[in-house]
Symmetry: none
Subunit: 414 residues, 2 copies
């Protein structure tokens, strides 16, 4: 028999754009970690009739509803009243809940505000749930065919009470299924439809769910499976995916693309220096967002003005005069000069036009040159990237990271 769970979040701020709802996401993650399935989530404003309507709808469709928000001490906290109406119960001061509120204040040598009395005014059949982090007790209502759990909207309080009270109660109500196991893959250089066509669906073990998510310019592919031998089947599916897509794989599961590039450079014993023009420090910033970047990154330069290219990177003036800063020869000269200055195994240079201005007929916005200097010589390539400034900068940065990844991988293979 199915055991479906729904989340109902309440609060005007969730529907007028003031606040993004994070509670649904954290409950969803906690549920799937423990083998439960969130069937749907709903958000309604702080209005009694909206909350009532939502509760009535949800309890006809799922076996458990987790409600967050509206348990505070102010006038727009209406959830308890709505819960009473929706279940045909009267409201009364719940002595147990009142004791919880009082304990919170006495524990902090503070006087309980009269308004906090409201927080103990619950439907008569409510079972109060303790709140270790705040004044608002939660509560549970047991309806035929549906269990209702009410928690505060403050994320930290909600999460603590979910783990401490709701989860154990869910586990008593219905033994969780084997939690869905998961594998995820961050791919670069292929669009979603292309990836989808390359996935050998027919050869995947049965019961493997494939999902896509975009973290531009990376495409994330997720494999999910439940049941006894989920891990075995996922191992097979992962092997198949790597067989066909491994060449585009920048990170797996918990890893990040930038973190892996760093690890690969360290493993290959390669030091790196960077010269960034149109990416303006984004590549350095990505690599140094990961701990331990100092193990391979020697230095980086954001060379916006020509003087910086002439001075720090020793780009010959004639190259800038004849070809301009956004050109194959300039990218090449930047990498060569940088490698000499920094004395690193690798020197990577990026120069381009991120826009929105600065484009020309011959060199439109999105024109980007990447150059990599190593003991093998210098490699340069020109690109035309699409999109706005942010997309062009991100695509340029990840393309540069991909160059580094491939170089380090080749190095390790030799």
């Amino acid at each position: 028999m199915a055991f479906d769970i729904a989340v109902l979040t309440t609060g005007d701020e969730l529907l007028n754009g003031d606040l993004a709802d994070t509670n649904t996401g954290s409950i969803a993650a906690a549920l799937s970690r423990h083998g439960y399935r969130l069937r749907c989530s709903l958000s309604v404003p702080d209005q009694e009739k909206e909350i009532i309507a939502a509760l009535c709808y949800l309890r006809q469709h799922v076996q458990a509803v987790i409600v967050t928000g509206g348990l505070g001490s102010t006038s727009d906290d209406l959830t308890a009243r709505a819960a009473a109406r929706a279940t045909g119960q009267a409201l009364a001061i719940n002595e147990q809940a009142l004791a919880m509120v009082q304990r919170w204040f006495t524990a902090r040598n503070r006087q309980m505000e009269p308004s906090n009395q409201r927080q103990a005014l619950l439907p008569i059949e409510a079972l109060p749930l303790p709140n270790p982090l705040g004044t608002a007790p939660g509560f549970r209502l047991r309806e035929t065919n549906c269990e209702l759990f009410f928690l505060p909207g403050v994320p930290s309080e909600m999460q603590a009470m979910f783990e401490q009270s709701v989860l154990p109660m869910l586990q008593q109500l219905h033994p969780p299924g084997a939690p869905l196991k998961q594998r995820s893959f961050k791919l670069f250089g292929l669009a979603e439809p292309k990836i989808d066509r390359m996935i050998p669906y027919s050869r995947l073990p049965q019961g493997i769910n494939v999902a896509f998510a975009l973290d531009y310019p990376l495409v994330q592919v997720k494999l999910r499976a439940g049941g006894e031998d989920a891990d075995t089947r996922l191992d097979q599916a992962e092997a198949l995916l790597i067989e066909v897509l491994g060449d585009y794989l920048m990170a797996k599961n918990g890893e990040t693309a930038e973190g892996n590039v760093g690890k690969l450079l360290v493993a290959a014993g390669l030091t790196l220096s960077l010269a960034e023009s149109c990416t303006g420090g984004l590549i350095a910033s990505l690599l140094t967002s990961q701990p331990g970047a100092s193990a391979f990154l020697e230095r980086g330069a954001v060379t916006y003005a020509d003087s910086a290219k002439l001075d720090w990177l020793q780009v010959p003036l004639p190259i800038l005069q004849q070809h301009g800063a956004v050109s194959d020869p300039c990218a090449r000269a930047m990498a060569i000069g940088l490698r000499r200055a920094a004395d690193t195994d690798l020197a990577l240079a990026v120069t381009g036009i991120a826009g929105p201005d600065g484009g020309t007929e011959e060199k439109p916005v999105g024109t980007v040159f990447i150059s990599l200097a190593s003991s093998n010589g210098v490699h340069v390539k020109g690109y035309r990237f699409n999109g706005n400034r942010e997309k062009i900068q991100r695509m340029s940065a990840y393309m540069a990271l991909e160059w580094l990844r491939r170089f380090a991988v080749r190095q390790l293979e030799d």
Copy 2:
């Protein structure tokens, strides 16, 4: 007559904790900006029957539903089929939609993938909506008593299509109410409770709603008001807020902190160079994420290794030997050497320990020195920031931007 709107987001990733839904929030914000009211939002997995059930429920309760997600070209994109079932229509290739998809590829000299044909397979009565940023056309279905709008789940595409297609159509369907007017303020250097205590609530004009949001390390304060004289009251409220908090104000309304720092430097006629150690290029990356950074940013250095500090920044070796790279004297020497090398009005240097490793008894993780060299001399200050690597890097970067903002403001006042 009421005109209520609902948002329906689809996608397994929204219900298993993989991805936080940002579309509901951005649609909610756009709707209230334009005087519409979001009555509720609902999320369901990528399952045809769930999407159908949600559509059937919502169209009985609201006059317009905005659906996001599931319009891609992959096997888990089921929204069009669900929409057809829910409205009792057949699916057919929509020639107009197919032309849109084809145009997208031809505009980029690329071959259309066969799988993209799926994206033109729409309910027969669907009116396709152009997608300026991607391959997936949206569509509109006109039901009695309810209008259904279907948009892709990719936030940038969804937002563009909402503004370009959905909003004008909503305005034709139902004249918006007087939209809530809004003012927003990005503050740096004060925690939310402190700001809350400093806001002169008693002196605010009536009917002004105050909301807070955190974009670490910036705190955003939003003022909202409706009705005839909303602008007048908001002007008064804004004046009051700036009177008490103006000193901490980095950006207002549509502005960004990094964009404003750039504008201020240009207005003050100041050129800038950067030397970043623990921030690893984040400051340069923030400033260059804004168009026109080349007007003031001459160059930046990410000086991880000492050799880079010695070479590009001319930091005297004894300083590194006696005080170490994370020290007041080193930060000072970095700024002085950088200003000489780059020949800019301002040279800003940051050196510190972002962690998680590298901390010591004397210099724990979070120890950061910022130095600014100008024609007035050199200013240095040491900080102890809290939090993980990301928080320490972001706090350091915004503190540095705040130094630049204050310097430029003083310059303009003189």
